[in-house]
């Protein structure tokens, strides 16, 4: 078992990678710039795995015992190997692929400097095609303090998942996305605050919505957000094929 542990784990990783690539879900875990490299390496590794199955001899019992430090060590090592392989199969092949959720939003700095555009980049947005602005563009402008006058005649049309505002979760939520620079591990949440009292009655946290609305001063007296979207209606929607922004 120990000799083949790496080959089996390789197989699990290869099948998961290729399946995610074929079904268009690789973007749930890594930045698109890695797609081609990741798939090519998976295919090359798959060839090596098949060759290994064909030509690598089974180790003798004596070699296997030496390799794992005696018979007792061999038993423990095998148990550990089986555990890792089973865990890999369950997480990579059995569980459905998933995006990050609001649990991670709570852990990370929503609209922190790490996720929004720099001041210079945000300034460059002014005068652009506002209809094409993303959650990241709007959240950057809000963070840079573009001001009430700037937002007064602007309409944002954005899609994101629902996550509550920490300061006034009853009346305000964020329509949020994760910004990814390498893989899901570095994902930073960004979002636009939305004033919509009683939103919990209509939408679950982490459900996806599309909002088209103008900006106003936040009617909430306790929320930390100054400028918010105040939509008349919110449209529930499916998770987009690319849930993260880059």
């Amino acid at each position: 078992m120990n000799q083949w542990q790496g080959v089996l784990l390789s197989l699990v990783g290869i099948i998961s990678t290729v399946w995610l690539g074929i079904t268009g879900q690789l973007g749930l875990y890594i930045h698109p710039r890695y797609f081609v490299f990741t798939i090519i390496m998976a295919v090359i590794a798959a060839v090596l795995v098949v060759v290994a199955f064909a030509v690598v001899p089974r180790p003798s019992d004596e070699e296997a015992i030496l390799d794992t430090g005696g018979r007792r060590g061999r038993w423990l090592w095998s148990a550990g190997s089986v555990l890792i392989i089973v865990a890999a199969v369950v997480t990579l092949l059995v569980l459905p692929p998933s995006t990050l959720t609001s649990a991670t939003v709570k852990q990370r700095d929503l609209n922190g400097s790490a996720s929004t555009l720099t001041q210079a980049e945000a300034s460059g947005l002014i005068g652009g095609d506002y209809a094409a602005f993303t959650v990241r563009d709007w959240s950057s402008l809000l963070r840079q303090g573009a001001g009430e006058d700037f937002f007064a005649d602007k309409t944002a049309t954005v899609t994101g998942f629902v996550t509550p505002d920490k300061s006034d979760p009853e009346n305000v939520f964020f329509v949020a996305r994760f910004f990814v620079s390498c893989c899901a591990v570095d994902a930073q949440p960004i979002g636009i605050p939305v004033y919509y009292p009683g939103w919990q009655d209509e939408f679950k946290t982490d459900s996806w919505v599309t909002i088209s609305s103008g900006f106003k001063m936040n009617p909430s007296a306790i929320s930390d957000e100054q400028i918010v979207l105040v939509p008349d209606a919110i449209t529930p929607t499916e998770r987009p094929a690319e849930p993260y922004v880059y």
């Binding site: 790496g6 865990a87 996720s115």
Partner: protein, 335 residues
């Protein structure tokens, strides 16, 4: 009976068995739910997503490193690389710390490559110099750091010089060790000994396949366990606390070093990630992140543990951590 079975288990039977396992795993993926929540709490789902993300991101680099290791051990003529290195130990380590310019594999892939180089005769100290310098001193990392920061605040220069000096310092320290082989795990010592003397399968293709089997069996369990630990820490440690320390010249350095350890991001793109922290953190903290992270993080420690003893890794982590912190503080106070 057992011997009879061993004799009968020929290539055709092994291949059939392998393809059967392949088919079973593919079938498992196909019949498993393609979407959904699997009845898991949000934090548990995020733990799984983050762990899978580390595996999917790192796996191709580990495969690439293993393939280069196989090329070095099997397909290059004996001593092809070592003969070209200077004889003077310091000069050798200097040259090895620049080897990443030719083999830009990323830190995960450097571990199997370094194992292959050691099996071919590189000393422990030399392999450490290569391991810790290559993720920073390679063209992709330098280019992305330049794209992110240009020449601002001496970040690029500090990263290149800092990575070079720290890697060579670690190499120099361990070159003084009286019993360098004791820095390696007994398992890897056996691997090197076997590579030197006997038990080598005949034929390059067969030897390559055996090495692939051996190296994946050493690296992938460590990668999967490291990914699980990284996912667990990500779910358990709030990043807001770290970001709150950004304005203090001392705490900002330590906070970003902790972040680098936890986040375990690839050195080829870490500059883009940390660029957006530039408004919150001081330049020295950014430099400490960019120097410490590629050398030591939770995933790298799991991978390095396949080769080095826990005591060695603790010492190396301390040395690199102290040097990175000193570098970051110097940048904060001098630049």
């Amino acid at each position: 009976m057992s011997q009879t079975l061993t004799v009968r288990r020929g290539p055709a039977l092994r291949l059939t068995l392998g393809l059967t396992i392949l088919a079973a795993l593919i079938l498992t993926r196909i019949v498993s739910p393609p979407t959904g929540e699997a009845g898991m709490a949000d934090a548990a789902r995020d733990f799984v997503t983050l762990s899978i993300s580390v595996v999917i991101e790192s796996l191709p680099f580990v495969f690439l490193g293993i393939m280069l290791s196989i090329v070095v051990q099997t397909w290059l003529p004996e001593g092809y690389l070592l003969r070209r290195l200077p004889r003077n130990p310091v000069a050798r380590r200097v040259v090895l710390s620049l080897l990443g310019m030719l083999l830009p594999v990323c830190e995960c892939g450097n571990v199997p490559l370094a194992r292959g180089l050691m099996a071919r005769g590189l000393t422990v100290a030399e392999s450490m110099t290569f391991l810790f310098a290559a993720p920073i001193l390679n063209p992709v990392t330098i280019m992305t750091t330049y794209q992110a920061f240009g020449w601002d605040d001496g970040i690029l220069v500090s990263r290149i010089l800092g990575g070079f000096l720290i890697a060579n310092l670690v190499g120099w320290i361990y070159s003084r060790h009286p019993r360098p082989e004791s820095l390696l795990t007994p398992r890897f010592q056996d691997t090197c000994a076997l590579g030197d003397h006997h038990g080598q399968p005949t034929g390059k293709m067969r030897r390559s396949a055996v090495l692939f089997t051996q190296e994946t069996s050493a690296m992938l369990p460590a990668l999967f366990v490291g990914a699980g630990i990284a996912g667990l820490i990500q779910v358990g440690v709030s990043r807001e606390v770290l970001v709150a320390m950004g304005g203090n010249p001392v705490w900002s350095v330590l906070a970003l070093m902790v972040l680098a350890f936890v986040i375990a991001i690839c050195s080829n793109v870490d500059a883009f990630f940390i660029l957006s922290f530039g408004g919150t953190f001081m330049p020295g903290a950014i430099v400490a992140f960019l120097v410490f992270g590629p050398m030591i993080d939770v995933k790298m420690l799991a991978l390095l543990r396949t080769t080095f003893t826990a005591k060695t890794l603790l010492q190396v982590t301390l040395v690199i951590g102290l040097c990175s912190a000193a570098l970051g503080l110097a940048v904060n106070f001098l630049v």
